[in-house]
């Protein structure tokens, strides 16, 4: 199944409660307004040092010294749309890495070892980084507050922000993907207010192709 088919299948299987929560997200957030906040093509990526799923500290300087980066902010381990998108990106990057110095980096604010669980469950090979308190996501301009219905939906599934993020602010990154050149410059950015419809598998390969041919 293609990523699109998998996402479509997930969306059509949404419960009534999830559909209402999803509708509230689409109604609340305006992609144009959020787009103005986020880093854009030509901006420099903020430098970061973050713990990875293996409990090591990873710096953006180290990553960029070897690769161009695809940076994917995922909403949380509870978001199936984020998982399938990341899995698709991860498999694709694996097929390219022999040819192009390229690395995928997945980032979310989930603490308490969830990055490591998420990586194992989804059999990801990419770095999964823990952005404690959204310190990096806010510099990318992609932090949102999960609306009320979605909060209730997650609480009903036993997902508690206090244990998940170490705070009850319900602040999470918008599902978004950036491509960063080895020079640290953003060459592609996409924000997905509608986290169920993703374009990464169509947009990212040509961006990487252009990036590798310009080197």
């Amino acid at each position: 199944m293609s990523l699109k088919e998998t996402l479509d299948a997930l969306r059509s299987a949404m419960t009534e409660e999830a559909t209402a929560a999803y509708a509230e997200i689409l109604e609340r957030f305006d992609s144009q307004m959020l787009g103005r906040r986020a880093l854009k093509i030509g901006d420099r990526m903020p430098e970061f040092v973050l713990p990875n799923a293996e409990g090591k500290l990873v710096s953006s300087a180290q990553l960029l010294s070897k690769h161009s980066l695809i940076i994917n902010f995922y909403r949380g381990s509870w978001c199936p749309y984020c998982s399938v998108t990341l899995k698709a990106l991860d498999s694709w990057v694996k097929t390219q890495s022999e040819r192009i110095p390229l690395a995928l980096v997945a980032i979310s604010p989930e603490t308490g070892g969830r990055a490591s669980e998420f990586k194992a469950i989804n059999e990801l090979e990419c770095e999964v980084l823990v952005d404690v308190d959204n310190a990096i996501a806010v510099q990318f301009g992609v932090v949102i507050r999960l609306p009320k219905r979605y909060q209730t939906l997650l609480l009903g599934r036993g997902i508690d922000p206090k244990t998940l993020h170490g705070g009850e602010g319900w602040l999470i990154p918008l599902a978004s993907t950036f491509v960063v050149s080895t020079g640290g410059q953003i060459v592609h950015s996409e924000l997905h207010v509608d986290h169920t419809r993703r374009t990464e598998m169509e947009t990212i390969p040509p961006v990487i192709e252009r990036l590798s041919s310009s080197v």
Partner: protein, 293 residues
């Protein structure tokens, strides 16, 4: 949301005056008002009550304030942490450690901080929790790694890392080794090791045993920290109640305690809003990011 928006709101929350807040942020008042309004739209509620003579935070504004302060603080700390990668300056880390937790628990994190952060200079102070908190207030410590309840105390930020399980530590060949899982009732005739304060971990567990038995078991000897307690077990002075996460020396055996549960958790604490070194930021992030179980 982005950092300028958040900083605008934080200045407004401090000054409670649109004109002065806009001046401090060096933007025009219409632009300032728009910025706050957009943040309200994004967060999904009014943060500020706009009345002619009075600007006040709404209930929602008051509720969101600590989270927005936290994210601002985290972003500033992260920038300082990234700068340390190119810096020649020392990165101090003054860690306070409960006598009942022990260095092996935090060792891997300290090692990772030393491996990656340039010019780290760390110190470890072992003391009782109230003394550690006092020293942190005095500015002598950056982070405390302790056993604590979830009560918030004033200026301290606290994160629960995990809820530890309890064990009984015995010497080899002890008669109770035949029992797989030990309960408080099995301890009626045991000689156990005490501690010095009622809130020290072994004493908290002893109080639970005493409640089950209707009397306190024999505790002629006392220790002031986990390592001494285990040494006393090794020397045959008694058995030690403790945490399953203690590193068991080769000569000793640990058995899970079935019905002794701690309501307290293993926590890290810092002083809210106080700037800290890159090493301290990395330490806290590593501690919060990982699983402790």
């Amino acid at each position: 949301m982005d950092l300028p928006q958040i900083s605008h709101f934080l200045v407004l929350a401090r000054l409670l005056n649109f004109t002065r807040a806009a001046e401090e942020c060096r933007i025009t008042q219409p632009a300032f008002s728009r910025s706050v309004r957009r943040l309200e739209l994004e967060l999904g509620g009014d943060l500020v009550l706009r009345e002619r003579s009075l600007t006040q935070l709404t209930k929602f504004g008051q509720a969101m304030l600590p989270f927005l302060e936290q994210i601002m603080f985290a972003a500033d700390a992260a920038k300082a942490e990234a700068r340390q990668f190119h810096s020649q300056e020392g990165a101090p880390l003054h860690l306070g450690l409960s006598p009942w937790l022990g260095l092996p628990l935090v060792g891997p994190i300290l090692a990772e901080v030393v491996r990656t952060v340039k010019n780290v200079e760390f110190s470890v102070t072992v003391d009782k929790e109230p003394a550690l908190r006092e020293r942190m207030l005095q500015g002598e410590l950056d982070v405390i790694f302790a056993v604590g309840s979830d009560t918030a105390h004033g200026r301290f930020n606290q994160w629960r890392l995990f809820s530890p399980t309890t064990s009984l530590f015995l010497p080899p060949g002890h008669a109770m080794l035949g029992v797989d899982e030990i309960s408080a009732r099995d301890l009626a005739d045991a000689t156990l090791l005490g501690a010095f304060d009622a809130d020290a971990l072994p004493e908290v567990l002893l109080a639970q045993v005493a409640r089950t038995l209707g009397r306190r078991p024999a505790t002629p000897h006392r220790a002031g920290n986990w390592e001494t307690s285990l040494q006393l077990v090794r020397s045959g002075f008694g058995l030690s109640l403790g945490l399953s996460c203690w590193t068991t020396p080769d000569e000793l055996v640990a058995r899970p305690l079935r019905d002794l549960e701690l309501t307290q958790g293993v926590v890290i604490e810092t002083i809210g809003g106080r700037p800290r070194s890159a090493a301290a930021t990395s330490f806290i992030k590593l501690a919060r990011a990982r699983s402790w179980l």
